[in-house]
């Protein structure tokens, strides 16, 4: 039963580049429907780990299951069940809002009728119907970010990976974005997110902190603050990374 | 001065760390020379020619003799029927068939015109074209010398195709042309790409925000390429001599000076391109399409200028390579001194000044 709850299960994951261990025996799991914060300093190995979990590169060793599939043998199946959004967005600047939505829906093999009705829903929910025919490059950063997120979960993936999704946006949009993330979890989507904003770590159900290729801490924000006798996650992070 | 040398040193570091740059810089000229020298040869030798002489009179027989006396052609047999032409081509025994019409001499004498048909196996279009040109050349020389009053039944452009003929061997011709092409390409392409690279990577922003003057930035970027392109030019001359036996009859010093002038010209064109291109890709595109193609087509390197329509002839005078080729041919092949090429040199000098001024003027002291 427990296995079904763990949407990501990682045991002793190692990734080496030459003699350098970018990921050193990572072991963790992510529960279905939770918001999992994946923190760490630059160069701690976060990006390497995310690439493996998304089926973009192979680990050197370890057992890794994502959405019930093995990352060695079933990468294509994994890719179908996940969504991904990075800081640099994945929207085409020279296509319109509507064209972008349809493009991604098409990539994930949604049917024509399905696309049309869900596009309508999505635009309505984001209140972007009036700009559906505008080019992406013409719309403000905050809208782009929200749209990119909506596109990443358009095919209702089991897990969505967000790599620094809120970089550079204003504080209100940042919060609206997190409200969207919470909404997504209510639909049963698991969220795996990295960020440099430490207040955002507080919004996660559980947080892992990577230092030099290893996971040095993993717990709920409240427990971590208690463990490190800190008043916020920023202090926790500083204490850990400076150790 | 310290500033300047710092800049040049940095530029050399860029060049020697980038394998791709090195390959283009030194590999490309070598490959091109060898390709042009061996593959795209502009010479013909021992081409098999079949003769179908339907009149067998004095004129046609002596014309046939002339063809085989030229040294380029060897007889592949005398035909009696039209069907034999196809057979000859198919069996590969001949590349060209010359057909003299019936009553050839009679026509010549009475009507001042007679017809010779040249049929060629065009499956190898290039050498077919070349053989035709040579054949026409041989025949025309012969008939002209025989009788001035006889009008030639061939088109006017024939004479110009004598270009490939007799005293100039193909390799001799292509070394100056290739030098003009390679130096133009390497120098202009490399500078325009290296400057736009600074724009693309954002480092230009820092250079602009520093006390460096535009001319310091430009000179610093260009100097290493002057040296490297010069090495390139000398490599081409050396390879031409070692591999193909193309001599430098005239003064080597004069040759070097002219090369430096031409390199400077090409580099300043490169700088001008870089002031207009935002990305390396764009700079490369402009250099390739805007420089390389016209240089190949209009400089007289491959296609004789005299053959071109008037408009293109006029355009060709704008091609620096056109003048450089004349200069180099004179120095290398004819051994003439500066007295014979001062006009071309002056044109090149004028162009250089124009491009340097234009690029310094267009070089922006701010971001746009």
């Amino acid at each position: 039963m427990v296995d079904h709850e763990h949407i990501i299960e990682v045991k002793e994951m190692v990734k080496k580049f030459g003699s350098f261990r970018a990921n050193d025996r990572l072991t963790f799991y992510v529960e279905k429907g939770e918001i999992f914060g994946f923190l760490g300093a630059n160069g701690a190995g976060k990006t390497t780990a995310i690439r493996i979990l998304c089926g973009l590169s192979y680990p050197t060793s370890g057992e890794i299951m994502v959405a019930g599939h093995d990352v060695y043998r079933e990468r294509e199946k994994i890719k179908r069940k996940i969504g991904y959004m990075s800081q640099k967005f994945s929207l085409y600047e020279d296509l319109t809002v509507s064209e972008n939505i349809r493009l991604y829906a098409g990539i994930y093999g949604l049917g024509r009728n399905q696309i049309a009705s869900r596009e309508e829903q999505l635009l309505e929910r984001l209140a972007l119907s009036h700009i559906r025919n505008r080019l992406i490059r013409e719309i403000p950063l905050g809208w782009k970010q929200k749209l990119a997120f909506s596109v990443a979960i358009f095919h209702q993936p089991a897990i969505v990976f967000l790599d620094e999704p809120t970089g550079g946006v204003d504080p209100i949009t940042r919060r609206q974005f997190w409200e969207m993330i919470h909404d997504a979890t209510e639909e049963g989507i698991t969220v795996f997110v990295t960020t440099h904003y430490m207040d955002e770590a507080e919004y996660c159900d559980r947080v892992s902190i990577m230092v030099d290729g290893r996971i040095d801490a993993l717990d709920t924000p409240a427990a971590l603050k208690q463990q490190f006798e800190s008043k916020n996650m920023n202090e926790v992070f500083l204490k850990l990374a400076r150790r | 001065m310290n500033r300047f040398f710092g800049f040049v040193k940095k530029e050399f570091q860029h060049i020697f760390r980038d394998v791709r740059t090195l390959v283009i810089l030194f590999g490309l000229p070598m490959v091109m020379i060898i390709l042009f020298g061996f593959v795209v040869t502009t010479e013909i030798r021992d081409v098999e020619v079949g003769i179908w002489d339907r009149s067998m009179d004095q004129a046609s027989i002596s014309a046939t003799q002339k063809i085989f006396a030229s040294g380029y052609f060897i007889p592949a047999g005398y035909l009696q029927h039209e069907e034999e032409i196809g057979e000859l081509f198919r069996s590969g025994r001949a590349k060209v068939v010359v057909v003299f019409e019936e009553g050839f001499e009679r026509h010549l004498q009475r009507e001042n015109r007679a017809a010779i048909q040249l049929i060629t196996d065009a499956s190898d279009a290039n050498s077919a074209q070349l053989s035709l040109t040579y054949l026409q050349g041989v025949l025309m020389t012969y008939f002209q010398s025989m009788n001035q009053e006889i009008e030639m039944p061939w088109s006017v452009n024939m004479k110009s195709r004598m270009f490939y003929n007799e005293e100039l061997k193909g390799v001799y011709m292509f070394v100056p042309g290739l030098m003009a092409l390679i130096l133009m390409l390497i120098s202009a392409l490399m500078t325009s790409v290296t400057i736009t690279r600074e724009k693309e990577f954002g480092t230009m922003e820092l250079l602009l925000a520093s006390p460096l003057k535009p001319r310091e930035i430009i000179l610093g970027k260009v100097t290493p390429y002057v040296l490297l392109s010069f090495v390139n030019a000398m490599t081409i001359v050396l390879m031409g001599f070692l591999v193909f036996g193309v001599p430098v009859v005239g003064s080597l010093w004069l040759l070097m000076l002219e090369c430096i002038l031409y390199i400077t010209l090409a580099l300043s064109i490169g700088v001008l391109i870089s002031t207009n291109a935002k990305t390396q890709q764009m700079a490369m595109f402009i250099s390739m399409v805007g420089l390389m193609l016209p240089t190949i087509l209009l400089s007289g390197f491959i296609f004789p200028i005299d053959n071109m329509p008037k408009v293109l002839q006029w355009f060709s005078t704008l091609m620096p390579a056109r003048w450089f080729i004349v200069v180099i041919k004179n120095i290398m092949l004819k051994g003439t001194g500066f007295a014979f090429i001062w006009k071309e040199t002056l044109i090149l000098l004028g162009m250089t000044l124009f491009f340097i001024l234009a690029s310094v003027k267009r070089f922006k002291i701010r971001l746009n």
Binding site: N42, P140, L141, G167, E202 | A209
Partner: protein, 313 residues
């Protein structure tokens, strides 16, 4: 006065990037420009670095106009663009030596100024700049911007995309540099970095919303700010609080909600409603607004003023 920004306007095609920007920076001050991407920070910094010409207004750097006397300006500023702008194919020490020579100086001459920063990356001095981590790249870029001992250091988003630890270290270094008498103007999208500055300008959509000293707590606003905490997590309460009658705004804020009631009376009423929610861990108390709260408050104010056309982000 180190820097005078005098009513600067700048637009690109139809887009108004900056409108009526107006502030001054004192000698030796650490001045922050805080705002999200697209607020116009980089445009303003490029004007300060003499790389762009404003449409209207003036920018005076130590008495030199950045347009007319750009040559002088370029001698006295150290500029670090928003994008990492060093040579990736040169090593750490080669980059530094190059910029030293560009400014007609040498690494040795001003080594004392950069030693704090440079010693942290010195172990990697033979590594190519392109192979450095984000934090180390920033340190190298800072060393290069400092190597000629500029009078004004202009740093455009030096900490963007850098992790919290490196960011803290970076600010510590800036404090030390400030101690050497160098004026620093720095921009950042991270609101929590405001407290490291002597003064900050909050900037949004090309306009300065406010200039303030983050060390002076602000209160006495017409409305007050409250924080709500709960051991059960506050997200669950967000919609509930927002739907309350007396609530003006409520936003997630770390492990709390920050709530702005419509008035003081409303705060009392809200408190009494919350008491009925049967969560003993619920904590409701007035707090002083941080810079981020201020920023959000000013944004709300702006959007209310502009809400006539109905477009809101």
């Amino acid at each position: 006065m180190s820097l005078i920004i005098d009513h600067i306007d700048k637009s690109f095609d139809a887009v108004q990037a900056l409108s009526r920007i107006d502030f001054e920076v004192q000698d030796g001050e650490l001045f922050g420009l805080i705002g999200p991407d697209g607020a116009g920070k980089s445009t303003l910094f490029r004007i300060m670095a003499s790389l762009l010409v404003p449409d209207a207004g003036r920018c005076i750097m130590h008495g030199y106009d950045v347009v007319d006397d750009y040559r002088e300006v370029r001698k006295i500023i150290g500029y670090m663009p928003g994008r990492f702008s060093l040579y990736m194919d040169l090593s750490v020490e080669e980059n530094l030596a190059f910029y030293a020579r560009v400014f007609g100086t040498s690494v040795e001459e001003n080594y004392d100024l950069i030693s704090d920063v440079y010693e942290q990356i010195a172990p990697f001095k033979r590594r190519l700049a392109g192979k450095l981590s984000g934090g180390m790249k920033q340190k190298l870029a800072l060393s290069c911007a400092l190597i000629h001992r500029p009078r004004v250091l202009i740093l455009d988003e030096p900490t963007t995309g850098v992790d919290a630890v490196s960011r803290r270290e970076f600010w510590d270094m800036l404090k030390k540099i400030q101690g050497q008498g160098i004026t620093i103007v720095v921009s950042t999208p991270y609101m929590d970095e405001a407290e490291m500055c002597d003064r900050v300008a909050l900037i949004q959509k090309g306009r300065v919303l406010e200039i303030s000293d983050p060390s002076i707590p602000r209160d006495g606003d017409d409305t007050q700010l409250f924080s709500l905490r709960s051991n059960r997590g506050v997200y669950a309460y967000l919609e509930r609080v927002r739907s309350m009658e007396g609530c003006k705004h409520a936003w997630l804020f770390g492990d709390q909600l920050h709530v702005t009631p419509k008035s003081k009376d409303n705060a009392e009423k809200m408190k009494s409603v919350m008491d009925s929610w049967d969560d003993p861990s619920l904590q409701w108390k007035p707090i002083l607004p941080s810079i981020e709260d201020r920023f959000m408050g000013l944004m709300e104010q702006e959007s209310e003023e502009h809400s006539t056309n109905g477009e809101r982000i």
